[in-house]
């Protein structure tokens, strides 16, 4: 900390500029569906009493947003929406996801990803085999016996709440289909369901389903992903309140393969948004007004420092954060040091630093995926 005497320096108050005041921030992680395009996409309302579709919609994505509100937001209500930087991976690393095996459980209600697998070899493998970012471990189809190979990643109710954390999948695989292969061809399905009770107490299941066919690679490795946010009209802002689940399914008919090992899965895991980490990014954008910005000019050289105290100031000493240090040398004054104190733009500098560090770590991790995973929101008016 630098200490200077008020009598020895030139102290100039600066105005408080609050035009960019921000007390709450929304970070748009994903604005629209992206990655592999679905072959077909359904968005409909299934009436569970009448057992029929009662409504269907043109799919409009609900933006996936991480938000942060400063405690002073209740005073200011100044909000900003930003797009996540292209190189930031917003998803939980596959190796940090927790999995549990499932044999029968149809509607899991906890935060664990429940995996149901059938037919693939070797059997009973831990998910580490295909969610370990390691392209030398895999599971594959056994010698064809006319079975349907069937995988399910089913995400439970309570975990999702309204945050809709699971929005897609990533699949690294190799596949060699028979030349005489017939439908159903291998595909992945993202299946969002929302359980909603209407004003008449009638139960509805709202479905949004995307089906993605897995391209044949003639035995070569391929890396695909797809992101399908839940639809906008499911939001409580549109009067739809209820729990939701997301299932990610992979289906393949083993009669479409000639030999064991014609279909290998190296990586297959759900893309779950890491909201807690993204909150740091949002927090870094908070800008609250300074209380007493000023410029202090000291004669001669004074070392750079992050904090400065002016003693002997009328009404009491002032201690403030230093926003910038500037040196000037001219014929009249020789060398002077100019400290700018408390610029409003530098509030929460330390948090910004933290977010930047988190970001640097993420840059090295799956850059390719996140580059394409982020899409901004466009307003729809037509």
């Amino acid at each position: 900390m630098i200490t200077v005497d008020f009598k020895e320096v030139l102290y100039k108050a600066l105005p408080i500029d609050a035009q960019d005041l921000t007390s709450a921030v929304d970070v748009v992680v994903v604005g629209d569906k992206t990655g592999l395009e679905p072959d077909n996409l359904y968005d409909y309302d299934w009436d569970t009493v009448a057992i029929e579709t009662v409504n269907s919609w043109q799919y409009v994505a609900r933006p996936v947003v991480a938000n942060y509100a400063h405690s002073q937001d209740t005073t200011y209500h100044m909000k900003k929406s930003i797009k996540l930087a292209d190189f930031y991976n917003p998803f939980i690393k596959a190796s940090n996801l927790s999995y549990a095996y499932d044999t029968v459980q149809a509607n899991p209600t906890d935060s664990t990803l429940v995996i149901h697998e059938d037919g693939m070899s070797p059997t009973g493998q831990s998910p580490a085999r295909y969610a370990d970012s390691n392209n030398s471990t895999y599971i594959s189809n056994p010698a064809p016996a006319g079975n349907q190979i069937y995988y399910v990643w089913h995400i439970g109710n309570t975990y999702l709440g309204h945050s809709f954390a699971c929005i897609g999948f990533r699949l690294v695989y190799s596949m060699k289909l028979k030349s005489t292969a017939t439908a159903p061809f291998p595909y992945v399905q993202i299946n969002h369901v929302k359980y909603y009770t209407d004003g008449n107490g009638r139960q509805h299941d709202l479905f949004t389903i995307g089906n993605y066919s897995i391209p044949d690679t003639d035995g070569k490795l391929n890396d695909i992903y797809a992101i399908l946010p839940v639809p906008l009209h499911w939001d409580p802002d549109n009067g739809i309140i209820g729990n939701s689940t997301t299932a990610i399914l992979l289906n393949a008919w083993d009669a479409n393969f000639t030999n064991a090992g014609d279909f290998k899965i190296y990586e297959f895991f759900p893309l779950m948004v890491d909201f807690s980490k993204l909150q740091d990014v949002a927090a870094a954008e908070i800008k609250l007004p300074a209380t007493r910005p000023a410029q202090v000019v000291v004669k001669g050289y004074s070392t750079p420092d992050t904090s400065l105290t002016v003693t002997g100031y009328p009404g009491g000493d002032i201690t403030a954060a230093v926003a910038s240090v500037e040196y000037k040398h001219d014929m009249e004054n020789g060398l002077i040091t100019v400290y700018s104190l408390e610029q409003s733009t530098l509030i929460r500098e330390s948090d910004y630093g933290q977010a930047r560090r988190a970001l640097d770590i993420q840059v090295n991790n799956r850059v390719k995926l996140s580059q394409q995973g982020v899409k901004s929101v466009k307003p729809l008016i037509y």
């Binding site: 100039k12 600066l14 933006p63 802002d237 729809l380």
Partner: protein, 201 residues
């Protein structure tokens, strides 16, 4: 002729100080020296108000609503954008940074709409008038210090088949949605009583 500056609590919107003819009604001390300029668009949207005052007495903070009245008629409503520190006692003749010590810049209510982010409301296959949609979205997501009244959004006879603007700020949304309106020049703004309005000139 009597002029007034009223300031309001940011969090609650209730009256904070009334300065009549430059003098604070509560303390009887001179506070506001002069109104330097006040700009309002021809259709009533408040743009900018500049005045000179001692902030150790006015104690205005960033974002605080300010209203300017002449003979009790509202002339301008806006929020504090640039202001001196609350420790500032004003400027003397020797101060070469007088603006930093006593100048206030108040921007019109549009500034608050730039800081209001639209949420996840969607109108699907809807016949709601576009003006009503503007009113409803403003009412839902607008800054709490602004007032929204359906009567200030007269029907335009235009509707959209689908309308959603999640994560857009209300100001740019209003700018783009008014382009849909035909049969005149649509304008919108915030008047001298903090009410948001739409007009087709």
């Amino acid at each position: 002729m009597s002029w007034q500056i009223k300031t309001f609590y940011l969090a609650s919107g209730s009256l904070y100080r009334t300065i009549t003819d430059g003098v604070d009604e509560a303390s009887s001390l001179p506070v506001v020296q002069e109104i330097t300029s006040c700009t309002v668009e021809p259709w009533g949207d408040c743009k900018e108000l500049d005045f000179v005052a001692r902030n150790d007495r006015l104690t205005a903070v960033a974002g605080m609503p300010v209203q300017y009245l002449e003979d009790s008629n509202p002339i301008f409503w806006g929020v504090v954008a640039i202001h001196p520190s609350e420790y500032s006692k004003g400027a003397g003749p020797a101060d070469d940074n007088a603006d930093a010590l006593e100048k206030f810049t108040i921007l019109g209510g549009k500034m608050l709409l730039q800081k209001s982010i639209i949420g996840n409301k969607i109108y699907e296959e809807d016949t709601t008038d576009i003006a009503t949609q503007m009113y409803e979205l403003g009412n839902l997501y607008g800054h709490p210090r602004l007032t929204f009244n359906q009567a200030n959004f007269p029907a335009t006879g235009i509707n959209t088949s689908i309308l959603a603007a999640p994560q857009q700020d209300l100001a740019s949304f209003y700018d783009s949605v008014t382009q849909q309106i035909t049969g005149g020049t649509p304008v919108w703004g915030v008047d001298a009583t903090s009410a948001v309005f739409l007009k087709v000139l």
